[in-house]
């Protein structure tokens, strides 16, 4: 059996599956249930200064896809709405009862040195393993100059991270917002401020749906709605890219990452770990199905690792980073053509119409008056669209037909700035 235990910036947990700071980690009751179910750690729901915030009623909107729930979830919740002391006392007790699990405390206080100086010793005193700085929340808090209002200004990130490292011995994770144009800048700033790690992504600014009867966004609070934070399966590709960008940026390469965003299965987790993540955090999937999903995540990850001969998480962590590159370095000589397995083909015609209407007219629809779908090699550019629209597994595959030569854009004659090879 593979060893799933992790040591992330000195924070140990029996497996890399943590719950993200959110309702699932709002109080002791939930967190204890999570630990009983097998979660390796939690990032406690974000704490702020008293008096606590007040939340609205009607907080979530969701996107269904083809009748399946939920492709994405949107929330307009704020940080913890419970008194600071209550949270701190619970954190202390739970950590004492579950010493082998990671207990990270998420924090969001005003952007002044005094506030951080005030709250950090109290957190440290609970025995928690680390802090996560919530610079990501895109709604409500940002209007008060916190959350993503800080996360969108690299100088603030650096300044606050430095205060945290100055006033606390605890390992520090800066949680990044995806609501920026280039995630490398805030990541670099966090590193410059001395953070031990970053976590990402927090939620993405969104409006899930407009209720066409009420003519208002959902969730609708007494006839009005506001933009909220989007998360769940739909955001995973965005999170994967942002994690990869930080992992391969020369300045932040090697900076520990706790990955978040649409993770719900062992496979999702493995993908983020392959991009360098040391732990992963889950919110929406747990909110959808309950804590028991961690069961299949643990068993699935360890069986997969066994099948690959990976004994520990470190054995495959970061293995995909080297294969994420810039477009200009891709081999322009690589050439693949679609191959349709006629025995498997159900003659739905989706490949044909996709290619005919929207691509390269490389799939014909009949021969000798009979319905038959065939690839015209001379027209096929190897884009894979037909393979993706084909509803039958392995019916359309791509065959490599080039002569294994290599040329990328940097040396291509069409490139005005081509460097002569």
């Amino acid at each position: 059996m593979a060893d799933l235990s992790t040591n992330f910036i000195g924070i140990k947990s029996p497996n890399p599956f943590w719950l993200a700071s959110a309702p699932p980690t709002d109080k002791a009751y939930n967190v204890i249930r999570a630990f009983e179910a097998g979660w390796g750690g939690v990032v406690w729901k974000t704490l702020g200064l008293d008096p606590p915030v007040v939340n609205v009623s009607s907080r979530y909107g969701a996107v269904q896809w083809n009748g399946q729930r939920m492709a994405g979830l949107n929330n307009i919740e704020l940080i913890s709405d419970r008194p600071l002391r209550v949270n701190l006392d619970e954190i202390r007790q739970v950590k004492r009862d579950w010493p082998d699990r990671a207990m990270v405390v998420s924090l969001m206080v005003p952007c002044d040195e005094e506030s951080w100086k005030y709250i950090l010793p109290m957190v440290e005193d609970t025995g928690a393993d680390g802090v996560e700085l919530n610079f990501g929340c895109p709604h409500g808090m940002s209007e008060r100059g916190m959350g993503s209002a800080v996360g969108q200004v690299p100088e603030y990130i650096q300044m606050v991270a430095a205060w945290v490292k100055q006033y606390s011995k605890l390992p520090c994770i800066v949680k990044l917002t995806p609501n920026i144009t280039d995630v490398r800048y805030p990541a670099r700033a966090a590193k410059a401020g001395g953070t031990d790690a970053v976590s990402l992504i927090n939620t993405i600014n969104s409006i899930t749906t407009i209720d066409l009867d009420l003519m208002a966004p959902t969730p609708t609070v007494d006839g009005k709605g506001t933009h909220g934070g989007y998360c769940g399966p739909a955001v995973r590709p965005i999170a994967l890219n942002m994690v990869a960008e930080i992992a391969r940026d020369p300045i932040t390469h090697g900076l520990p990452i706790s990955a978040i965003g649409g993770i719900g299965t062992w496979r999702d987790a493995a993908e983020f770990i392959a991009l360098g993540a040391g732990t992963v955090q889950v919110c929406t999937a747990a909110m959808h199905y309950g804590f028991r999903i961690v069961d299949d995540m643990i068993s699935g990850l360890s069986h997969w690792m066994d099948s690959k001969g990976y004994k520990t998480i470190e054995d495959f962590r970061g293995k995909a980073i080297g294969n994420v590159t810039d477009w200009k370095y891709l081999n322009l000589k690589y050439d693949i053509k679609a191959r349709i397995n006629q025995d498997l083909c159900i003659k739905c015609g989706l490949c044909h119409i996709a290619c005919e209407d929207t691509s390269h007219q490389a799939i014909t629809a009949e021969r000798d008056g009979k319905r038959l779908f065939e690839v015209v090699d001379a027209e096929c550019v190897g884009c894979n669209l037909c393979m993706h629209v084909c509803p039958v597994d392995d019916c359309i595959t791509m065959e490599r037909v080039d002569d294994a030569s290599f040329q990328n854009w940097t040396t291509h004659p069409n490139n005005p700035m081509s460097q002569k090879a």
């Binding site: 496979r267 199905y289 069986h303």
Partner: protein, 423 residues
């Protein structure tokens, strides 16, 4: 094939290709893609009703989630940890009245998640690739004797071997598997039971002695002396009698024997079947015998049951399947006489029955005849208590020790169980 007026019993009524089709897998395995689509239909219910309905308590939504994440090993563990015969059960369980009958998808869509088929998908690969999922704990030095290598005996043997005990199993027949090997319609478990048993035994620590019958070759007293504990998984080896004259003569057979012969026959074309077959009984054995007679090429198969469809122990799906296969099902008909011409079976005389106001079955005094070359009896099985001395039995049943492992208790319906207190 020419028709004989009397005693028309013959093998090879159908050509090899037709027989191959008739005795191939009735419910073929799902492909990965089919399994993923089906798995995506599961709502992953909390405290799922399907689990409540499973006699072995398999975490059904849990293993289905494993399928949907391609974690087949985790899925197989969830099934086989709860029920080591999960592969067999995936094929033969009457899921329509168990897990699938309770699936919440029956509500809005009238179409439950195909749990049986998914369970087969999640486990087939284990036996096909002969993957070892279990290993034995350190030897305990304790020895357990088990009578009967049927599902109960072998499940018990496996559970004990896993714990590190040494197990010896005594089986009267030539092969292990019991009901699985001899008692299930051939098209439900094509090429499967023996492979499953072989895989189960590969854990080690289990020795099976074939041709060793309780009361003949071994005695309970002897076993009690030799082993720290004894487990009786002897099943219901006897067949209930019709109570009609001539039922032990030529032309009349126990359905279980016919089913066993067919299961053991490599070439189904060698198994004789009547041109006109009458099956008497209302359970799944009766249905299996009737359908298989038809599939062997019988021209007319009549299944007669003395009460109505609702009280048949065969599920409604099985009953519908029999009708689809062309079996004529007669309700409220009880056999009163086996008709013979020149000593050869010619038919069965039945009496119409009905229920009186108190619900008691009564004869109507009206009779009819059905021609038959073969009569198959399937009116239930009974415990054979030879070799069961002392306080082991009560009312024709073995007194079960409720401390037996749950997985063994599940099979009590098919194999009666008793564990003598370990010494």
């Amino acid at each position: 094939m020419s028709r004989k007026e009397l005693g028309d019993v013959a093998a090879g009524r159908l050509d090899a290709a037709t027989l191959a089709r008739h005795f191939g897998d009735v419910a073929p395995a799902l492909s990965r893609q089919q399994a993923l689509i089906e798995a995506s239909r599961c709502h992953f219910c909390y405290d799922a009703p399907c689990i409540q309905a499973c006699p072995t308590g398999i975490d059904i939504p849990g293993f289905i989630r494993g399928i949907s994440t391609d974690n087949l090993k985790g899925a197989a563990h969830k099934i086989l940890d709860a029920n080591i015969f999960g592969g067999q059960c995936a094929r033969v369980c009457p899921t329509e009245i168990l897990c699938e009958g309770e699936c919440v998808r029956n509500g809005p869509e009238d179409k439950p998640v195909q749990i049986g088929a998914l369970q087969r998908y999640a486990t087939d690969w284990v036996f096909e690739s002969d993957t070892r999922l279990y290993s034995r704990a350190a030897p305990t030095g304790k020895r357990v004797g088990i009578v009967g290598a049927g599902p109960a005996g072998l499940a018990c043997a496996h559970a004990l071997a896993k714990l590190g005990h040494e197990v010896e199993v005594f089986e009267s027949r030539a092969k292990s598997g019991g009901l699985n090997e001899y008692g299930i319609a051939a098209y439900k478990v094509v090429d499967f039971s023996a492979r499953e048993v072989e895989w189960l035994l590969s854990i080690g620590g289990i020795t099976v002695h074939h041709g060793s019958a309780l009361g003949h070759d071994i005695t309970l007293a002897d076993l009690r002396q030799r082993f720290g504990a004894v487990f009786l998984g002897i099943g219901l080896g006897g067949v209930n009698a019709l109570g009609v004259t001539g039922e032990h003569e030529e032309g009349v057979r126990n359905a279980v024997d016919f089913i066993a012969e067919l299961r053991q026959a490599k070439d189904k074309g060698t198994v004789p079947v009547g041109r006109r077959v009458v099956v008497i009984g209302g359970g799944n054995t009766a249905i299996d015998a009737a359908i298989q007679s038809k599939r062997l090429g019988a021209e007319r198969v009549t299944l007669a049951y003395r009460r109505g469809a609702e009280t048949m122990s065969a599920t409604s799906l099985e009953q519908a399947f029999a009708k689809e296969e062309g079996v004529t099902v007669l309700h409220f008909s009880r056999p009163v006489e086996l008709l013979r011409k020149d000593g050869v079976l010619a038919g069965v005389r039945f009496e119409h029955t009905s229920l009186d106001s108190s619900g008691k079955l009564v004869g109507s005094g009206e009779y009819f005849t059905v021609e038959a070359d073969v009569v198959l009896k399937a009116i239930g099985q009974a415990l054979v208590d030879s070799g069961l001395e002392g306080p082991v039995t009560k009312n024709g049943r073995i007194v079960a020790d409720e401390t037996a492992p749950p997985v063994c208790r599940v099979f009590m319906r098919v194999a009666i169980v008793s564990v003598a207190k370990p010494t």
